[in-house]
């Protein structure tokens, strides 16, 4: 019985660490939704491109890992801005659902482009960091590092939004799209900036994920849906709600996967999500209905 409890504890701790990375992914998506009112269905595909960037720079071109990370973050940030400029902007005025679907087209495009360019092989960095051993509990350092970085990045975004002039402008335009332009804010530029930040967060997420997972063209499909669920459960656009929901989800997957198969962990997380939607459609942690 005692052994059982240790493994369960390990699953819970791993869930906490996994939650940190999920929270980071959800943050980028949530920020974009909160400010621009658009759901990037292709968000996880941007993460996938970031993972490929790190992989190729590090293993093929021998670039130091830190530089490869920086390049990936900048590249995906640029892609985020490009996505907004080329794809989202033309449909900003049309029906909301079109904005969601147009990024679905980008999803197909990026996934196919990655397959054409890189093939369907599973690739990994070939790094293996040791595990932190506490008693009988094994926690991979890559996960601890990822969760810690994710927390720091989230704190950074939080401070940026709260303490800086630009951050305040972004929060203001999220609150009222009509009035803010009259106050002299340029929504086009703020949207572009937000998209770049959202992309940058996807790039950072890519750096943390590539330490733990193989990259392949369809990896977005395994992270994408879960990220959307987290954002919706936290209340789309609600950054704190998304943060908490990420940990709830991660526990479902980790502990559920501990008791059953990993797929059942995901199934339970999704069932929980659907159940929550029926009890609180505005999101589990929404302070007020949107």
């Amino acid at each position: 019985m005692a052994v059982f409890d240790v493994f369960l504890l390990e699953a819970i701790l791993n869930g906490l660490l996994f939650g940190g990375v999920l929270a980071l992914l959800a943050l980028g998506l949530n920020l974009i939704f909160g400010v621009i009112d658009v759901v990037w269905i292709c968000y996880a595909e941007l993460v996938m491109l970031g993972m490929y960037t790190v992989y190729f720079l590090y293993t093929v071109f021998g670039v130091p890992l830190a530089l490869a990370f920086l390049a990936a973050i900048l590249l995906v940030a640029g892609l985020g801005a490009l996505l907004h400029q080329l794809v989202i902007r033309p449909v900003l005025a049309s029906e909301p659902i079109n904005q969601l679907l147009v990024t679905g087209g980008v999803l197909f495009f990026l996934q196919a482009a990655a397959t054409v360019a890189f093939g369907i092989d599973f690739r990994n960095l070939g790094l293996s960091l040791p595990s932190l051993v506490v008693g009988e509990i094994f926690l991979p350092w890559s996960r601890i590092l990822a969760a810690a970085t994710a927390l720091l990045a989230m704190l950074g975004v939080w401070l940026f939004l709260r303490r800086t002039f630009l951050g305040t402008a972004i929060r203001a335009i999220a609150q009222d799209r009509q009035i803010m332009p009259l106050m002299g804010a340029d929504p086009g530029r703020l949207y572009l900036l937000t998209s770049a930040i959202g992309g940058g967060l996807a790039g950072l997420g890519a750096c943390l994920l590539v330490l733990q997972y193989d990259v392949h063209p369809a990896i977005g499909l395994s992270f994408g849906p879960i990220t959307f669920m987290i954002c919706v459960m936290g209340g789309l656009g609600n950054l704190v709600g998304g943060f908490l929901a990420a940990f709830v989800f991660a526990q479902f997957i980790s502990v559920g996967g501990f008791f059953f198969h990993i797929e059942w962990g995901y199934v339970m997380a999704f069932v929980f999500f659907v159940a929550v939607m029926f009890v609180r459609p505005q999101g589990l942690f929404a302070a007020s209905g949107r």
Binding site: V87, I97, N98, F108, A112, I120, L221, F260, F273, M277
Partner: protein, 330 residues
């Protein structure tokens, strides 16, 4: 018109094997176009009212796997298995739909809840790998060993038989679309799509209207799943369920035209023809090139031609003659 044209198409396609023997490969393409055209039409029955579901892979998966599992495990004929699978799809639609509509989950939220639904079905199929074969897929036990026609098992060796089955199912799908188009339900849903409160205030039971059209759409989609499984004699979680297939459904409908009767069918013809043309032109040397072009086209469609191919064509055609006859008044 909306009765005549589908019937004409059905007659022409039905006469194909008799008048112009086109070979198994082309016959196969036509059958796939009909099956997918039917599934896309089933989606647009609700999609056209702003109920954009990203979860129709769930219904297709339940139909396809339901009928195959009942046949393989219990030896239940698809003639009995299909109604059970359809009932299961309807129940699932009810389970997702009722709370969604009751609590007014619309727009982005509805799309994402249905997305979760389709992922649940895909993951359950993968997780039950002892029963379903997991990601490797599942093959219905063959009944074609004794002869080319196994009526009880709903398996036929001849493609011609499938052409007529698919044609019949497609035609009934298009006619269901027409029936909804002419019903009071349509007006109720269009009103609710504009403003739920206003619609409710003039006596529209919004929840019930949405639920009715969702159940109809789900059951039709499950029929498509059954048909697909019986025709292909192979189902895999990725090809009948999950996010990719759900997105594929939505995009083909948008490409063809969401708001016109034959738009989804045009979408099916267009996407399949595109895929095949690229495959023939380039071969397998560059995998996924079709997906690349497909994705790009879809973005362009939504940005520049949101009405879709057929919708845009009909809009252009109807604009011209209307201008021609000048109002003659005495």
């Amino acid at each position: 018109m909306d009765l005549l044209i589908p019937l004409l198409i059905a007659i022409v396609v039905g006469l194909l094997p008799v008048l112009a023997p086109i070979g198994d490969y082309h016959l196969h393409l036509v059958i796939l176009m009909l099956i997918w055209g039917f599934v896309y039409t089933a989606w647009s029955v609700m999609g056209r009212f702003g109920l954009v579901s990203l979860g129709h892979g769930a219904f297709m998966g339940i139909g396809a796997y339901g009928v195959t599992l009942l046949w393989n495990e219990l030896g239940l004929s698809p003639w009995l298995g299909a109604p059970i699978a359809l009932a299961a799809a309807a129940l699932f639609a009810l389970l997702i739909g009722w709370p969604c509509f009751r609590f007014r989950i619309t727009g982005h939220y509805f799309a994402l809840v249905t997305l979760a639904a389709t992922e649940i079905v895909r993951l359950v199929i993968v997780a039950l790998r002892d029963l379903t074969g997991g990601s490797l897929g599942l093959t219905p036990k063959t009944a074609l060993a004794e002869g080319p026609v196994a009526l009880a098992a709903l398996q036929f060796a001849a493609k011609e038989v499938w052409l007529y089955i698919a044609l019949l199912v497609w035609l009934s799908g298009v006619l269901v679309w027409r029936a909804v188009d002419r019903s009071m339900l349509r007006y109720a849903l269009e009103a609710a799509g504009q403003d739920e409160d206003a619609a409710a205030s003039i006596g529209v039971d919004v929840t019930r209207a949405k639920l009715a059209v969702t159940l109809l759409s789900a059951v039709l989609t499950a029929v498509g799943g059954v048909l697909y499984a019986q025709y292909q004699l192979y189902v895999a979680p990725e090809t009948v369920s999950g996010i990719s297939i759900s997105l594929q459904i939505v995009f083909a409908v948008i490409a063809g035209g969401m708001f016109v009767q034959l738009g989804p069918t045009v979408g099916a013809v267009f996407t399949l023809a595109l895929t095949e043309a690229l495959r023939v032109a380039i071969g397998h040397t560059i995998p996924s090139l079709d997906g690349l072009i497909y994705g790009l086209l879809l973005v362009l469609f939504i940005v520049y031609m949101p009405k879709g191919i057929l919708g845009q064509a009909l809009a252009l055609a109807s604009r011209r003659p209307r201008r021609a006859p000048a109002p003659a008044r005495a």
